[in-house]
Symmetry: C2
Subunit: 418 residues, 2 copies
């Protein structure tokens, strides 16, 4: 028997009763607070708490939902956050009248379009992995050696690096084209100016929900207990700045000017029906990276470019299940040396590319270093992202009538600041 809700949920809505993602919203009359999305509504959890719907959770602080970040709520642990979600799921079911007929219903349900979505968490540390074999191969072919595109370490560990937490922003906030140094192969000296090769990277990121102490490690078996949920992640990249700076210490100014995320955090529990086998790993990985269950998820992903005032063109169709390294391996690797994690750390997958050309997760790959420009639906072509373009990423999982989606991350590129 499929679950349905008395809240109207359109057939193609990402926010079904099976999903119930958490986010931070505010409106003209409401201060920042925690909500759960369903259809085109937000359930204001602070109202439900005030009205006594969570009394069975006796340890819930009275102001737990009146926060501008999910961190403190998440830190209460999965026994609490799961239970809150279950209670809300129960209240929203078709047959349940306790909220539907309650006098607070009007106050408890806020229209999504009247709300402004804020950053869902205060990000402590942000790590970006590089876990798609197709992406790593494509980049290696373009920038290093086509015959040995994958570096020797790549199949032995989920390669990753630390990124900038301060410049992670929610969907809807425009970014300025970054300026920086670049030196093309034909240039004798580096020059300085607005990036000429601004790119997106299609990624998913998970948010940690439980801390470790320094010196502790997380096994692949336990890893998912430390993961609260997922967001879409656009790892903006200035390819010309990155190419000139990244040897030997990795990406820095080519990445840290901005990363954009979808504002609704889809709990890992909502993705359970979409768990699949990941790619076979050969050579065999070291014991601390071996898994006893599947940690890949079948999540359909799309990227659109929308020039100012024109229709969007879909430029990429990919899937999270393509990732060679899974989230349990990423977390086990990250902590195997004793590196401690906190609630609200963000760990992004790296660009998610598939095998086919239309599944590549960046313009660098889609237009193959500028050699194969993409045609846009209403005319024009793109090698990279132009000023005025909005990049939109969407993602959803669907199986047997159950749909769980991420909404979108959409961000417009403004010209470089003077």
């Amino acid at each position: 028997m499929p679950m349905t809700s008395w809240v109207q949920v359109a057939k193609d809505s990402d926010f079904t009763i099976y999903n119930l993602p958490f986010g931070i919203f505010q409106s003209k009359r409401l201060s920042p607070r925690i909500g759960i999305a369903i259809g085109d509504k937000i359930v204001d959890l602070s109202v439900l708490h005030e009205e006594g719907f969570f009394t069975e959770l006796s340890q819930l602080p009275h102001d737990v939902f009146l926060k501008d970040a999910l961190n403190d709520f998440i830190a209460l642990g999965k026994s609490v956050t799961r239970k809150v979600r279950e209670i809300v799921q129960g209240l929203l079911r078709e047959e349940n009248e306790s909220l539907k007929e309650h006098q607070c219903r009007g106050k408890a349900l806020v229209n999504l379009k009247e709300a402004t979505m804020l950053m869902p968490v205060k990000v402590g540390d942000y790590t970006d992995f590089y876990s798609s074999m197709e992406h790593a191969t494509n980049v290696g072919m373009m920038f290093r050696d086509p015959e040995n595109a994958l570096l020797p370490n790549w199949k032995h560990m989920p390669v990753g690096y630390h990124g900038r937490a301060s410049s992670i922003i929610p969907s809807g906030i425009p970014i300025h084209r970054p300026k920086g140094q670049y030196k093309d192969p034909n240039m004798e000296n580096p020059d300085f100016g607005p990036s000429r090769r601004l790119d997106f990277e299609l990624e998913l990121a998970f948010i940690t929900g439980r801390p470790t102490k320094m010196g502790e490690s997380i096994s692949t078996k336990d890893a998912e207990d430390f993961i609260f949920g997922f967001v879409l992640f656009n790892d903006w990249s200035a390819r010309d700045i990155q190419a000139w700076e990244y040897v030997p210490l990795g990406p820095f100014l080519g990445k840290n000017f901005a990363s954009s995320i979808s504002p609704w955090v889809v709990p890992i529990e909502a993705l359970e029906p979409f768990r699949v086998n990941g790619p076979k790993q050969e050579p065999e990985v070291l014991p601390y990276l071996q898994c006893i269950k599947d940690h890949a998820f079948d999540i359909h992903l799309e990227v659109f470019i929308q020039p100012d005032g024109l229709k969007p063109t879909k430029v990429c169709t990919s899937n999270f299940k393509f990732m060679y390294w899974n989230i349990a391996q990423q977390l086990a690797h990250h902590t195997v040396n004793g590196c401690n994690i906190n609630v609200g750390d963000m760990m992004a997958s790296g660009t998610i590319s598939g095998l086919t050309q239309d599944s590549y997760g960046s313009m660098l790959e889609l237009a193959w270093k500028g050699t194969k420009p993409l045609q846009l639906e209403e005319g024009g072509e793109r090698k990279f992202i132009n000023d005025g373009d909005t990049v939109i990423m969407k993602g959803y999982a669907e199986k047997g009538g159950v749909r769980v989606g991420f909404g979108e991350v959409a961000s417009k590129v403004l010209s470089a600041k003077e």
Copy 2:
């Protein structure tokens, strides 16, 4: 006329009346709070505030000093933090009796040895630069091409990368030897285990004191207005893990298991007498990196290795003035692309090596990749750091009878966790 204090300050004390660094301390009877060090005492600023010594600063919140991090205090701005330091300096002067003869004196002065020093700030983002030409050259000679040791970008920008903020800890906390993957040149496949090449890196780090918004940049001219102060920074490094993982995205698990800092933040104002000319930069740097004044500081630095139960051996004598790239250039570069900073970001210099072999800031360089082991004073030799060793870093500036020091960062290495 030199300043002296009625608080006894030993001749070789780092914490003179010219210094007055800020830190967070607690004791058996005192909760975490902000103090200023002088001689072997800590001035408890919360007591001075309670007793009305800061009444001219009318905007000071009543609990401003009863915090477990300096961030909120620093965020009040230099006009406030400088004034607090000036008032304390005035109160501590030999000829000033208002605190010396006050009934609160016993409460306001806490013995340093009775206090536990905590992390001075909550670090938002941590960046590590790579700004010593001698260090970059040494590493390039050992790991890449001795004929072209410096990479092409190195003299055009202060190369840097993002590090892990969660694992920055104050002096005195031991660390466990990290475990991880390594693959020596003679190995066919990577192996996993405790690092065999654990190293320190001698660095100084500055702490930012004023935020920027995304899209904003800081000029070299304004940069020091955004810098609150400095600490000693030991960038622990596992060379074998680092060597295997770092291409192409930079250091990750080889660094993020721990970084240790000295707990007293020396305000940039206290370093003013020690400002010197930095090295000449050739080729000329791009306009956004050019400086109109000196931003180098003559700070004497030392590293000691102390095996368990034995005397320490000095293994390195270096100086902060050797840095090719200065702090103003680092901050201007970091923000030139619009990357935003927050109060409490930490930006470390990179290993500070000089020209002579005894001035190299890491064991990697001092023992030249293990080929020239260092002899310890009470016997034994070291290529890298052994379990049971304590690494101690000290730093001070001295000129014309004025001494301003950092105290020390000392951390013991414990064996890898089972």
